[in-house]
């Protein structure tokens, strides 16, 4: 299966399209500009993502392209899937109650963004979500908190139950209740901007692991992010894109008071 990410070559005036059903993102190379068409759909499709050679005209797509001007375009464009640019709220259908002394693992999937980088550039020329999730708010009240995304998430306790999609990444959340009381979880804010993105041999995307620990003496659970390559038993993982934001202790204290509400 051909990779739809990485170094994608473009001849002059050549166009390529990333398609998931009717959802299409098309890029064309001109001599001094890159043209990007973004044809959105309302409902998310779960078909396989394919990279097509599009015809170098814009008659197939109805909307106008975004134009990104450079002095000279290069033969290659770096294409990277990225995780969401905001935290994601995972809300299970009913409250999860973790018994004292127990440790469980949850598997959630979140949608990917598609970013194009001109040679060596650190900022993408375009950064588009396949499907823009719904805005949401995570915080103790409406005055203090952060804007997040929600929707399009599934929280499963076994890996077999989670659906595999080419445009979504799976995150393992390990929750450990070291307290002597029940830990009730109604929602979890997944810190997606701080997670790295990996791919395995079957082209399934994975992120770093998130560990939540409810300590015996602590009031709120503490959490940390584990590098997936070190943590996972899988040996076929490759780093695809680094986290959007670099996390340090202060960042977490400032931006995410608690992952669990």
């Amino acid at each position: 299966m051909e990779n739809w990410w990485g170094e994608i070559s473009f001849e002059l005036n050549e166009a390529k399209t990333w398609c998931i059903g009717q959802r299409r993102i098309c890029v064309q190379r001109k001599s001094a500009e890159w043209l990007v068409w973004n044809e959105e759909t309302e409902d998310e499709s779960f078909e396989e993502l394919v990279l097509e050679e599009a015809v170098a005209t814009d008659s197939t797509i109805n909307n106008l392209p975004q134009r990104y001007l450079v002095k000279n375009t290069q033969k290659c464009l770096t294409v990277k899937p990225l995780l969401a640019n905001r935290s994601f709220i995972i809300r299970p259908n009913s409250t999860l109650n973790i018994l004292p002394g127990e440790q469980i693992e949850l598997y959630v999937s979140s949608p990917l963004w598609l970013a194009f980088y001109d040679h060596g550039g650190s900022l993408p020329i375009s950064d588009l979500p396949f499907w823009r999730p719904s805005d949401s708010w995570f915080g103790p009240n409406t005055m203090v908190g952060e804007l997040c995304y929600s929707k399009y998430t599934e929280a499963k306790v076994t890996l077999d139950n989670i659906s595999i999609h080419s445009h979504r990444a799976i995150t393992t959340i390990s929750i450990s209740n070291e307290h002597d009381e029940l830990l009730a979880i109604e929602r979890i804010s997944l810190p997606t901007p701080f997670l790295n993105l990996y791919v395995d041999a079957t082209h399934q995307f994975w992120t770093d692991k998130v560990n939540l620990i409810h300590h015996l003496d602590g009031y709120r659970p503490s959490f940390d992010i584990k590098n997936l390559i070190k943590e996972s038993a899988k040996t076929d993982l490759t780093l695809v894109s680094a986290a959007r934001e670099v996390a340090d202790a202060n960042t977490f204290m400032r931006s995410i008071k608690s992952l669990v509400a």
């Binding site: 999730p133 719904s134 805005d135 708010w137 995570f138 409406t142 804007l147 929600s150 929707k151």
Partner: protein, 283 residues
Amino acid sequence: MEETSATLNLMEQFHVFAIGKGFLILIIGYFLARFARNGIGRLKIANLTPHSMTLLKRVVFYGILVLTSISVMKELGFDLSVVLGAAGIFSVAIGFASQTSASNLISGLFLMMERPFSVGDIIRVGDTTGEVLSIDLLSVKVRTFDNLFVRLPNESMIKTQVTTLTKFPIRRADLKIGIAYKEDIERVKEILNNVAAKNTLCLDEPAPVFILLGFGASSVDIQFSVWVKRENFLTLKNTMYQEIKKTFDQQDIEIPFPHISLYSGTATKPIPIIMDRENNEKS
């Protein structure tokens, strides 16, 4: 030689040297004040808002000018105690005349300490809504959305209610909807929740609130409150109303016009109207 010394004596008699020296000090002081003001402006002091920076620059500039003026007056031989005495009497007279200005000044100081809003925020005072351009000693300058310049005295801000629209990152939009009496309220509630869920700008949490306001004269009045990121407030309000109208049309839900039913009595049939074309009468 004698002429030179005579000229010098004359100049000293007319205090030319002293005045010249005074002028020089004034000019040097003025340039020093400007230099200090520009220097302060270039410094990036943490936690200093643009408004506080402007204030600091002004204080430094006028402070240096005042000190320069005092030293000039000393140089010219004025007795400062007399000047201060005169200033004291003068200020009492001014005080009586400028009660409102003094009140505005003090209100301004309290406003600065309290900081209910800063430059760039959008505030509503009475009927005026606009962006704060500057917070000055006596008044706050605001630009309304139709680009008018409004001067709000500080005294009025202290005495009345000031709403800062840009204080918090999210805001609630209250959508007023009226549906016909014949409609199923539960079904309408479900449809509205679906419209909100489909709209990506509408926040999933805090969840939208469905409030039945009551039974109006022509319709069942509903308030559907949805939360949104502050910057998207207007866009969301417009898109939600459009999508609600579109969905109601698709689902055959009636948004009634105001209408009145006329009866001649409590238990009689509607008033009959007969058109008599031959005699051209109405009865």
